[in-house]
Structures are given as structure tokens and as C-alpha cells.
């Protein structure tokens, strides 16, 4: 026999203390009450006095015994005795409930999660009530929903509140977590019960190193499903007005499938393809769609399967960015190849007479003239007049040899020339903080200014004309202009890539020499997410659907992690692992609660005591019989007097 609520010592102590109190109260109740009365003539006669003088201290021992016995029974009932189970401590089980995305797949009238919840509840009912259970929700992360808990109400509530997530099941991590929790927190380890479909990644499909006390309660997982796996978009390198779209579709089922893949951009058809997929295989479809404007791109699989959540994906695409450059020059034909060749630059050429100080442009180019600018636009000054140059001109020389570039600066990156002699050039005296891009033997000829003060914009002053003389034929000239424009308006030249992927761990390719401090991984709310770099692979984790942006230099990749992550295969449960709900435990080890019977017996005992010895009708009848002779004698005395 086992006591659920109290130990044997506690029970005995409690019974002893209460019995002592009852005996004391009993003696107090049965003790004489002293009372002052006006006369004794109406009270009982001398016979009663004689009887009471020799009365016992405890007049009704059977009443006292009955009361004590009844109270002991009631206290024992409170202690919660159980028959049939002799292990006192109980065991601590861990239920690992699969809450991966796949658990949201349809089966019959409900979803797989409903089956898993029912199985988990069935397991709870099958184990002894004193056993404690920890519920762990497992998807990409193993999250404990409860501590080791004996209250079935709390556990069933936690099971009921479990919902399918968006990530795939990481089974090895979940089992490892459960095993560690049992080792650290349990008093007597019970079973680790995995309840779910067990759809895992290919690497975990043959997972065999499982805890020895593992039990698996699987749900049906034979549904057919075809889903979008990944979508990638980027501006076409050959035609920047167009998007290159790559869509990866996977057949998770066991039968070959033919599905129609359709694309829509801003609710207009953007392409379609019919794909035939073998079981467990992936197919990739590539599309090109011209679009300068922004909008929503939707990819949809026209198929009815068990898991519709991965049949549709939507991504928001930005409009094509371009820089507006206004060039004031008397000889626009010299500069036109430098600016008009770039499709991301919208160049407008005007004569200096039409100069507008408040011109609306991203970059203003002033060719050999000077005029104060009122707008915030960045500016490129080509051979400005010495008297009005934004950077002080120290000298104007001819025949200067351009012998040094500064590739360590973003403006001079990748530039080099050999044996270039400038016909005429202005040599500058740069101020502190100015960036020297190129130098001659006489001094700097290209200087850039950051514009650190408020209201100042970026400026680049070139002491020679890049479209004249030998620089006209140098490869460094268009690269210099590209560097200058990229430095001035980096957003216009940022390379965008869009990836629609699945929630969970994301791997992104980065350059080998990419420095972690130059990389930013931002979520929807512009908060930095932790990431790791392994060689050329950047890895981060997102547990919830959303958008994550990875910025590396002027390249930005937007990950729209809205597709649910579905494991590729179903876990093959190793042989020897217990399976199913253990019905035998329910019938064999179910404890028999004795408390209702003990409480009933205790109640009957107290009722019997009240009826037999209490101030009830039965007692009154008994007492009146005892008093009758005395009253008879009193009447006789009255007559005699």
C-alpha cells in the first residue's frame, strides 16, 4: 500500500495529535459543569448523586473508540492510500511532441497534430497518476512546455495548446534534450516518448543512436505532398530591367507527380511551367520577367495535396533603382560615354548657361566652371577654376605624370595606370580629412571630400579632364567614374537578390574575404540576428516566418522565409524501440484508490456515534429512562410534604 499525500510517519503523527485532542475534548465535554441554582428541590434525588459519585472518568468508552476510529479512517483517506503499487517515487517521463510544420498537414477531417495530441493524451492516461511527465515541443528547436509535472490537467492543457510550427523537426536535438532533462531533473527516469509524424531531414532519416528508454507513438505520415522548396530572384546581369527567377519544387510523396507551376507579378501572369517530379526529387524552373516597377511576385503550385501551406509563396520586389546625374558641360560628347553607358545612371547633359543651383539630382557634374550649389546633391568638379575650386589649387602644371593611385580608398579601388602623362592638370592642397585618390609627382590631382558638416554633400574634384588626353583611352577612367558614383550613391548600385525559403537554418554564400564586421543580418524590425561564418558559408536561424536581410558590402540578399520547412523523409524507427501506447500499464498498474471507502467508513462511524451516543433522539430516550425513577421519587416526596 502506498500513501499518495502523506508519509506513514506524518499520518501517524497527525492521527496521534488529533486523537489526543479528541480525547481531551471528550473528557472536557463529559466533565461536570458547575452551576449555581436557586433551589435543589426540583432536581434529582439522592440516588443519582450516589451513581455519579462512583462514575468512571470515561463514561462512554465505545463512543470515544468509535470517534477515534472514525477520525483515523478519515485522516487515512486524506493521506490517499493506494493499493497495488509499492514503488513510492513514481517515474519521470518526457513526451516529445512533434510540432514541426508537417504536423499541420491534412488527414481526414483534421490535421496530423490532432492525432498526435490524442496519442499524447492516451499515453498520459496509460501511466500511473503519480508519475511525472515533462512535455517538450519539438520542431527545429526543442522547447519544454512544462516541467516534470504530476498534474494531468496541466499536462493536458499544455498538449491542447500545442500547435504546428513552421520549421522542420530536429529529432536528434529533441531526443538529446529529453535525455538530458531526464538525467538532470528526474528522480527516477521513465520513458522518453516521441509522439508525431517523424518527418525529418535526409540526414536524420536513419537516426539510430536513440536513448534506450525511447518509445515512439507515430501518426500516419503517408500523405502525398508537392511543395515549393525555394525561390530565388535577382536582377539579370545581362538585362538589368529583368528579373531572373528560379523556383525549386519538391515531391515529398511516394508517387510521381505532375504539377503546374504558375507565376504572377502584381496579379499579372508572369510565367507557368508544368513539372514532372519523381518521388523524393526536386525540380528547378527558371523564368525571366522584365519589370522595372516594384510589386508582389506570387508562385503557386496548382495541386491538391495534404500540405497546402507550401503550395504558394509571395515576395515583395522593389522597383529598379537608378541614379539621376546632371552634367553641365560645353563638351558633353567627352563625358557622355562615361555616364550614359551605365544603365543604372540616368544622365542629363546641359550647357553651363542653363546651370540651376537648386537642381534636383543625385549627382551634379560641373565641367570646367564653378558655381555655388544650393542643392544637397553630390558633385563632381572637373578642372574647376583655381579661384573658385572647392579644394584649394596649389598649382597648375603641364606634363605631369600620374604615378600613384590609392587603391585602399573606395574611390581608387582597382585603379591603376602606367606611364600616363597629363597634358594639363591642377594640383590640389587637400585639407585634413580629404581623401586623396590619385597623385602626381607635384601633388594630388583627384581629391574627395566626405562632407562631414551638416548640409554638406560629397564632392570629388578632378584636376584634369578625364575625357581628354591620354586618360581618354585608359580603362581606369570609366572605372574611376563608376567608383565615384558608387561611393556617392551606394543605394543605386546595390545588388539585390531575393530568396524565398523555409523557416529554420539558412545558409548564404559570402565572399571568402568577407569580414564579419561588414556583414549585417537584419530581421523585419531591423534587429540584428546572430550568425556564424564558416568559410564562404554564412549561417543564421530564423524560427518564425518573416523577412531577413543579409547585407554584405553593396550586395544585399533578402530572404523571405515564409515557406514552411518540411522534412524530406520519414524517420525510420530503429528496431527494438518500443512502439505505441502501452495499454498494459493501464490495466496492470492502475492503482486502486482506497480513500473513498475509508472516507465512507469514517463518515458512517461518526454518524453511528452521533446516533448512539450523541445528543440525538436515541440518546434522549436512553437518558429519560434513566431519570424516570428519580422524578417518581420526587413526586412522592412532594405528596408526603
Amino acid at each position: 500500500m502506498n500513501f499518495l499525500n502523506l508519509g506513514l510517519g506524518e499520518l501517524l503523527g497527525l492521527v496521534g495529535a488529533i486523537s489526543a485532542g479528541v480525547v481531551a475534548l471528550y473528557l472536557l465535554d463529559r466533565s461536570k459543569r458547575r452551576q449555581l441554582v436557586a433551589t435543589l428541590r426540583f432536581w434529582s434525588a439522592a440516588d443519582v448523586r450516589t451513581e455519579l459519585k462512583h462514575r468512571r472518568r470515561i463514561q462512554q468508552p465505545w463512543s470515544l473508540l468509535l470517534q477515534l476510529l472514525s477520525l483515523a479512517l478519515l485522516l487515512t483517506a486524506i493521506a490517499g492510500p493506494q493499493l497495488g503499487i509499492f514503488d513510492v517515487a513514481g517515474r519521470d517521463h518526457v513526451i516529445v511532441l512533434d510540432t514541426s510544420a508537417w504536423m499541420g498537414s491534412r488527414v481526414g477531417q483534421g490535421i496530423l497534430m490532432d492525432q498526435a495530441k490524442a496519442n499524447a493524451r492516451a499515453y498520459l492516461r496509460s501511466i500511473p497518476r503519480r508519475d511525472r511527465v515533462m512535455l517538450v515541443r519539438a520542431d527545429a528547436l526543442a522547447t519544454p512546455a512544462t516541467a516534470f509535472e504530476s498534474s494531468r490537467g496541466v499536462l493536458e492543457s499544455a498538449i491542447q495548446q500545442s500547435q504546428p510550427g513552421a520549421s522542420a523537426l530536429n529529432l536528434s536535438q529533441a531526443l538529446e534534450f529529453a535525455d538530458r532533462a531526464q538525467k538532470l531533473q528526474s528522480q527516477r527516469a521513465g520513458e522518453i516518448v516521441f509522439v508525431g509524424a517523424g518527418r525529418v531531414s535526409e540526414e536524420e532519416a536513419a537516426l539510430s543512436s536513440v536513448p534506450g528508454n525511447l518509445r515512439v507513438v507515430t501518426t500516419s505520415s503517408a500523405q502525398e505532398n508537392v511543395g515549393l522548396r525555394k525561390i530565388g530572384l535577382r536582377r539579370s546581369p545581362t538585362a538589368p530591367d529583368s528579373w531572373d527567377i528560379f523556383v525549386v519544387v519538391r515531391n515529398y510523396g511516394a508517387r510521381p507527380q505532375s504539377v503546374d507551376l504558375g507565376l504572377q507579378f502584381s496579379k499579372s501572369p508572369a510565367g507557368s511551367r508544368r513539372l514532372t517530379l519523381r518521388p523524393g526529387s526536386e525540380e528547378q524552373a527558371a523564368f525571366t520577367y522584365p519589370a522595372k516597377t516594384g510589386g508582389f511576385l506570387e508562385a503557386r503550385l496548382n495541386v491538391r495535396d495534404a500540405f497546402p501551406q507550401d503550395d504558394r509563396a509571395v515576395m515583395e520586389l522593389p522597383p529598379e533603382a537608378s541614379a539621376r546625374v546632371v552634367v553641365y558641360s560645353d563638351e558633353p560628347q567627352l563625358l557622355r560615354p562615361l555616364f550614359a553607358a551605365n544603365p543604372q545612371v540616368n544622365a542629363l547633359f546641359e550647357s553651363p548657361e542653363k546651370f540651376d543651383p537648386a537642381v534636383k539630382a543625385d549627382v551634379v557634374v560641373l565641367d570646367r566652371f564653378s558655381y555655388p550649389l544650393k542643392s544637397n546633391a553630390a558633385s563632381i568638379w572637373i578642372q574647376p577654376p583655381a579661384s573658385a575650386s572647392p579644394v584649394r589649387v596649389s598649382a597648375t602644371r603641364t606634363g605631369l605624370r600620374l604615378d600613384k593611385w590609392h587603391p585602399e580608398t573606395p574611390l581608387g579601388a582597382g585603379l591603376r595606370t602606367r606611364d600616363v602623362t597629363l597634358e594639363s592638370a591642377e594640383v590640389f592642397s587637400p585639407a585634413v580629412g580629404d581623401i586623396v585618390v590619385a597623385e602626381t609627382t607635384e601633388g594630388p590631382v583627384i581629391v574627395a571630400t566626405e562632407g562631414s558638416k551638416p548640409g554638406e554633400s560629397k564632392r570629388v574634384v578632378i584636376g584634369f579632364h578625364p575625357g581628354r588626353g591620354p586618360m581618354k583611352y585608359e580603362l581606369a577612367t570609366p572605372l574611376l567614374m563608376a567608383n565615384i558614383l558608387r561611393w556617392m550613391i551606394p543605394g543605386a548600385f546595390r545588388q539585390w537578390e531575393f530568396q524565398a525559403g523555409t523557416v529554420g537554418t539558412v545558409n548564404a554564400a559570402v565572399d571568402k574575404d568577407a569580414k564579419p564586421e561588414q556583414i549585417r543580418v537584419l530581421d523585419d524590425a531591423n534587429r540584428s540576428l546572430p550568425f556564424t561564418i564558416d568559410g564562404e558559408n554564412l549561417r543564421f536561424f530564423s524560427g518564425a516566418p518573416g523577412t531577413v536581410r543579409v547585407q554584405v558590402g553593396d550586395r544585399e540578399t533578402v530572404y523571405s522565409l515564409t515557406l514552411p520547412d518540411v522534412g524530406e523523409e520519414v524517420w525510420r524507427v530503429p528496431a527494438g524501440v518500443h512502439k505505441g501506447v502501452p495499454k498494459a500499464i493501464l490495466s496492470e498498474a492502475a492503482p486502486r484508490d482506497l480513500w473513498p471507502w475509508l472516507a465512507l467508513l469514517g463518515g458512517i462511524g461518526l454518524l453511528a456515534d452521533w446516533l448512539l451516543y450523541g445528543r440525538s433522539r436515541a440518546f434522549r430516550l436512553r437518558a429519560s429512562g434513566a431519570m424516570a425513577p428519580h422524578f417518581k421519587k420526587m413526586a412522592q416526596w412532594r405528596k408526603a410534604s
Binding site: K32, Q35, L52, R55, R620, S624
Partner: protein
Amino acid sequence: MPEPLLDRGFLERLERLTIQWQNSLPGLVGGHNTSRFAGSGQEFLDHRQFHHGDDLRAVNWRAFLRLEKLFLKMFQLEPRIPVRLLIDISKSMETGQLDKFHYAQKLAAALCYVGLVRLDSICLQPFSGKLHDAFTASGGRHRFTPAMTFLSGLETTGQTNFLECSRQFCSKYPQRGLTMVISDFLDDRDCEKPIQYLADFGHELILLQVWADEDREPPWEGELELEDAETGQKVELAFDNDARAQYTAAFDAHADLIRKVAERNSGRYLGVPTSVPIEQAIFGPLVRSGAVA
């Protein structure tokens, strides 16, 4: 200063009452109750033959002229008889959750006031084992304050002895009058004979039995150790509902015995529990019994 036994409002209500007696008692003129004794009253009572020595003012001269015989007119007497209040101050009057003695003090004060208002002569005679010092008040309501002071100064003492007190009373007060006994009548000895003794001496009796609820129906239960308040004698017994019922029946029989003694001698009996307010007791049962009107 001790709290007065009766408040002013209650005294004002008492002023319209009069102590009534039924028997014809001799006494000096000036009372308010008629008597069968002839005397110098206002109401014509009868004629009788004239005898020498009779007052010539009472001769019916008209009858003499017609019949030539002397007839004397007799008038109904309204005697002024003494009213005596016998107040039990024995130790047994102390018992009860509501003090019987205090109740008896208030009852005596109220009756004293009623008598004083009607110019009766009131004698307050406390007793227990013997008669104690008495206080006589007469002459109007202004004598009530000393009477109330006397009553307030009484304390319980001794053991009741009705028989001894009756003997002393009869020898101390030879003039017959109205005797009102305020007591619990719980003498261990018989109290029937002493009452009868008083009645035989010609006193008109009004017996006011005061009891506490515990005296008539003890609320206790179980084993009791009872102590007599007067004798100190102790009794141990077990008590329950049936015993209580029999006790109450015995008490009622005792009260009925006292009532019968009173009625047999043309007296009146009134039992008043202390749970009944004094005002309600006077204007209710006491007025209905005819003791006051």
C-alpha cells in the same frame, strides 16, 4: 450616583394606576376602595335602629316624622388600609442570568409608586430568614425618592424561611391590610403553610412569583454539579431534555400550588419571568389580575 430603578417615563405611565384590594377591611376613612364596613362615608349604605350614643347627625328625621321611630342612616366606608410589600432578599434571588432580585426591586418600586400616588400607606418589608428593617412611606409621590433609595440599598442575604417570617409579620403588623409578597417562593421547606398562615390572619394576599428562565427550564445539559445558592448544598447528576421537561413540570406544579393557596384565600397570584420587561409585566398580567387597575 446609582442608577434609578425606574425611569421618569415609566413613572408617568404608572400614575394612572391604583392598587386594588377585594376584601372589606377596616380602616380610617380616606381610602379609595369601598368596604362593607359602615362609617363616615359619602355613599348611603343602610338604615338601622337608633341606639343611645349614636350620632344624632345621622338620624333620618324624615322617617321619624312619618313613623315616629328613630332610624340611623349608615354610610359606606372607604377605608385607608395599609399596603405592605414583602420583598424576598434571600440568596436564591441572586441566581439566574437576569437577576431576580433586581427585578423584584423594580417591581416593588413600581407598586410603591402606584400606592403613593393614590395616597396609600406603603410599607416595604424585606425578608429572608427573618424580617429585616422595614420602610414605611405615605403621603404622596414626593415620598417615593426615599422609598426608592431604601429599595436600592437592599442586598441579598440569608436563607428563606417563610414560616418564621410569617410568624414575625403577623405579630409585627396586627392591622389587617393588603400584603403583596414578591419572591421566587423557592424555599426548600414548604411555603404553602406560611402563606395560609398570613391569609388566616386576615391579610389580603397578592403573591408575585418572580423566576428566572433558568429556574423554570434549565438550559444546561450533560453532567452537572449543582450548588444551592442559599444552603451551599451540592448535587451531581446527569441532565437531558427529558429530565428538563420533568423538571419544568415539577416547577409548574409548585407554582400552581402557590396559585391555588392564593385563590383559596381570596388572594391573587401572578408569576412573572424576568425575561418579561417590568413595564410589560405591570401593564399586562398585573393589570389583568386586578391587583392594579
